[in-house]
Every structure is written in C-alpha cells, then in structure tokens.
C-alpha cells in the first residue's frame, strides 16, 4: 500500500506527535508498505529519505502552549503538489484540527483520508470560533482515530461524530536492553521533557528534590530535554545544584540510554497530557515510574499497578513516593518487571496491524487519493491546462 502521512509540527523539534509519525512511517515500511511523510521542518537536511519538506514553521499560540506551525500560500502549494505527485492509496493526517499542514491536506485532497487526533482540548477557542472551518475539514475524513479516550472525548463532545480508539505505540526494540548513559555511586532520579513548559511540571520535581536528597544524600537528579540551564537552576538552593546533572536536549538513542540509567523516572506533569507515551518509553527501558495521577498516566500505569502515582502538583507526595521506591530495591525490581510486561501491549507492530485494518476498510473499492479541485476556480483552470499537457505528452512516442 502507498501511504501518505502528514505531520503538523516541525520534524526537527522534539514532540510526541513527531515521534509517533516517525515510528508509524518506519514500522509501516518494515512491513513492506511505501510511505511518504510531508512535514514542516526548520532544517531540511535533517529529514530522513522518506520525508518531504513542507516548509518552515512559524510560532503560533495553540492549545495553551506555543506550537510551531506551517500555513500560507506556499505551504498550500507544496501540499497540493505532494498529493498530486504522490499517488497515495490512503492519506493519513495527524492533528487535522491544528492550524497546520494537516488541515491544508484535507482541503487539498479527495479520496480515502484517515486522521489521528492526539490532543485532548478543553473547549478550546480555536475549536469554537473555527467550528465551521473544522467541519469542512472533518467532513472529508473517512475515518477518525483517537490515540486516547481523552482525545476521543474531545471529538465526540466538541465536533460530533465518533473515533476509533487505537492507543499510541512505542518501538520496544529501541528502548529495551540499551547501555545506560551515565552511572553514579548513588541512585539516579530522572526527568525528561521540555523544561520551559510549565505543564511538564519540572518545578514540582525541583521543589521535592531537597526532600529526596535529605533521605538519599548520594542521589543524582538527571534532567533531559530542551531548556535553559540557568533558568532551570535559578530557584534551586546551592547545596542541591551539585547533585543535578543537566543534559539538555538529547537524541532518540541517548534518550533511551538516559532512561535506562534511571533508578526512578519521575513524570510530574500537571496537565495537557492525553496519553503519556514517555511513561511507556521509561518502562520499556526498565526504569521504575513515579507519575502524577493524571487520568492518562493512571491508565498507562494500569491504575498504579505498574508504577507509583501521586496527587498532581504535590511536591511532598512526590518526594515520599520517590523515597519509598529508592528505599526498597525489591519494589524497584517488581516495578521494572511489571513495566516491561505492560509495554508489550503497546508495541508498534500491534498498532500498525490496527492501522492497516482501518486503511483497508476506507480504501475498499475506492481509487487513490487525488487533488481536490472542486470549488477552486484557479485550481480548475490549472488542472485543465495540466490535463492538456498530460494529453500532449501522452500522445508522444
């Protein structure tokens, strides 16, 4: 099958959706499908062979944080050309309602279109004001997939219509059994995520860290993810600074190795998470997980059986949870084992099998994806000229 995938966010910026698209593309290619990904990108030289440059992103506030998105006449032209020349059997758009390439692709294409909704939106202003626009995008989509029950509820509540639930997946083989990135005398407590994004909750962990140090003076706090070291350490007491290792932004492989080094992985997020893929990655790498009790996290951790949950934003409870895990090696062992069993359910090979079922049901008896020229005066004229061009070249030798 020839599959066209649209990624809404910049390929070279870290993010869950981008990682999802990459894993999806690579898993589908491993299964023998032909895949092309259209994505915004800052630096086109970072793109893998299967990805196509969709233009440079611009910073736009969206869904409570700043997203870098791609819009405009030039982007539209690129989307149209990609669809025209791709000859896809099915078009898979991620985050169709984010003001980015996804929506443009839905407008520009006709034929079997599948869309995946990742974010859970709390009655966002974008949705209310853009209701009519959102409908013009949604009505072209043959099948909507939600990665979590939260994301599904967003669709049902705000837009009408239903979605198929296909939980997110991870490539377990990328995480299991990797070499730890760092080793220390004492236990390593880890954080991974954008440090300048308040909803990732680093502040809660930093507030709790003195309590952890008081009980485990040898402990190290390992910080991974984009952010400014001076900003992060500004509010931290001097005596704690020596115990903090700041790695900044890391690539995928180092991320796996960093997780493998952790004796406890802490996810202190305060909201905005619809799935919690990072917890799965930590579990696949063998790190015991301590996470805030967001619905999404609680679901991934099987209600607390595969990790320890603490009340959202409660630094004291976080410190107590981390301390209790560090105190008991047999509990760490149990969590690691429960975690590696739990992640099996979320391996990408299973997700890919579900996706293929969806593709098969929307493509049955349909032709490939074509450029949609209806309602487009300019487009129609252009296609007429192109049509003639094709005829002329077709009549040649």
């Amino acid at each position: 099958m020839n599959i066209g995938i649209v990624c809404p966010y910049a390929w070279d910026a870290p993010g869950g959706v981008q990682a999802h698209v990459r894993d999806q593309a690579e898993t589908l290619m491993d299964l023998g499908h032909q895949v092309s990904v259209l994505t915004p990108v800052e630096d086109p030289s970072t793109l893998p062979a299967y990805a196509v440059d969709g233009g440079r992103p611009r910073a736009v506030p969206y869904n409570g944080s700043v997203a870098r998105l791609t819009l405009g006449v030039k982007a539209t032209a690129r989307v149209r050309r990609w669809i025209r020349e791709g000859g896809f059997d099915v078009l898979h758009v991620h985050e169709p309602l984010a003001p980015s390439l996804g929506g443009l692709a839905c407008w520009a294409a006709r034929g079997p279109i599948v869309a995946t909704v990742h974010s859970s939106v709390e009655r966002s202003r974008v949705l209310v004001t853009g209701y009519y626009l959102a409908q013009t995008v949604l009505e072209k989509i043959s099948a909507v997939i939600a990665v979590s029950e939260h994301a599904r509820r967003t669709i049902v509540d705000h837009l009408g219509g239903d979605a198929v639930l296909i939980p997110n997946g991870i490539r377990i083989d990328h995480f299991a059994g990797v070499e730890p990135l760092v080793t220390r005398q004492g236990p390593i407590v880890g954080f991974l995520g954008r440090m300048d994004e308040p909803r990732k909750g680093l502040a809660v962990l930093l507030e709790a860290f003195p309590d952890i140090l008081a009980r485990h003076p040898e402990a190290t706090l390992l910080l991974m993810g984009p952010g400014d070291v001076a900003d992060v350490l500004a509010d931290v007491a001097d005596r704690c600074r020596d115990s903090i290792v700041f790695l900044g932004r890391v690539d995928e492989h180092d991320k796996a190795r960093g997780l493998a080094a952790m004796d406890v992985y802490v996810a202190p997020n305060t909201g905005g998470e619809s799935f919690g893929i990072i917890l799965l990655e930590a579990m696949a790498a063998g790190a015991p997980v301590v996470a805030s009790d967001l619905d999404a996290f609680s679901r991934v951790l099987d209600g607390g059986r595969c990790g320890v949950l603490f009340p959202v934003g409660d630094a004291q409870a976080l410190a107590a949870a981390v301390n209790s895990v560090l105190d008991r090696p047999e509990e760490r062992q149990r969590l690691t084992e429960a975690g590696s069993r739990r992640v099996m359910v979320y391996d990408w090979s299973r997700v890919a099998a579900d996706l293929i079922d969806v593709y098969a049901s929307v493509t049955a008896g349909q032709g490939p994806v074509r450029e949609d020229l209806r309602g487009q005066l300019v487009g129609r004229l252009a296609s007429r000229r192109r049509g003639q061009g094709e005829l002329e070249s077709g009549s040649g030798p």
């Binding site: 409908q135 013009t136 949604l138 009505e139 072209k140 043959s142 099948a143 909507v144 009408g160 219509g161 239903d162 198929v164 359910v345 299973r350 079922d357 969806v358 098969a360 049901s361 929307v362 493509t363 049955a364 008896g365 349909q366 209806r374 309602g375």
Partner: protein, 183 residues
Amino acid sequence: MPDWWWWVPVIVAICLVGLYLSMTAGRLDRLHRRIETSRYALDLQLLRRSALALDLASAGIFDPATTVVLADAAHVARVASDDDLVMRGLAESDLTRVFVAAIPDEHDADELRAMASDPSMLEDLRGICVRVQLSRRFHNDAVRACRQVRRQRLVRWLSLAGRTPWPHTMEMDDTPPPGLIAR
C-alpha cells in the same frame, strides 16, 4: 447622499447569503459522496465476509451442525436485498452470531487452526470481521454528519439536498468472534 445608497447593504447581504448557500450545497455534495463510498466499502466487506463464511463451511473444519448453520446464514446474507437495509442487517447479524457461537474463545480458535488445511483462513476471518465493524462505524458516522446538515432549516426549505434520499445508518450486530480477537 444619492437615494440608491440602501441598495448597497442589500446587495452585500444577498451575496453573503448566496455564498453561504453555495458552500452548504458543496458540503452536502461532499457528504453524500462520502456516504456513497463508505456504503460501498461496507457492502464489499460484508460480501467478502459471507464469501469467506461459505469457504469455511466447505473447508470442513467445523462440526457438522455448525457447518450447516454457517452455510445457511452465509447464503441468507448473500441473497438479502441491498434495498431493504433492515432485512440485510438482520441477515448479517445472524451470520455474526453464528461466528461468535462457533469461535467463542482462543482455545477453539487454536483447535480450528490446527484442523484447517489453510490456517490463514482464520486470520482472514479476523481481519474481515474487524473491517466490517470499522466500515460500519465509518459509514454510520458519515450518515450522522450528513443528517446534521440536512436537518438545518434553510437546507430543508430550499431543498438544497435535491432528490438525494434521506441517508440511513446500517444497524447490525458486528461483534467479531471473541476467540479470534483475544490478545
């Protein structure tokens, strides 16, 4: 001020209403087309399922009683008229229930795989049953979206939908056999 000035807002208003109507007509057209394709896809999956049911019945892997019931249900589903959605839904639901009863758990599925000369038939059956379920969901979703637009007052008064018949959802039991989807 010239005495024709009040024409300007009237003309603008007429243009806006016209634009809105033409966009709505365009939406309806797209929605009807989507229903057509999703209905076709669902039909195709249902036909594949009944064809596979007949193949499975003739493969002789089920016990005689199940084989007879399966062949009969598959035949009824195949001859059910396309026009009568209710009868078609009932016939397909019967076929679903035969499959559910025939492969109630993983243990039975494993036994059947061991008996079958071509074990991929059961994998095909799993795929088709899941796809029937998905296709029906996508179709009913398209119908719901279309009905939402067709219920609007302006659409009804100006009969923007033309002579296209009121869309109907497909109601049937589409539970896949539990033995095949257990993981």
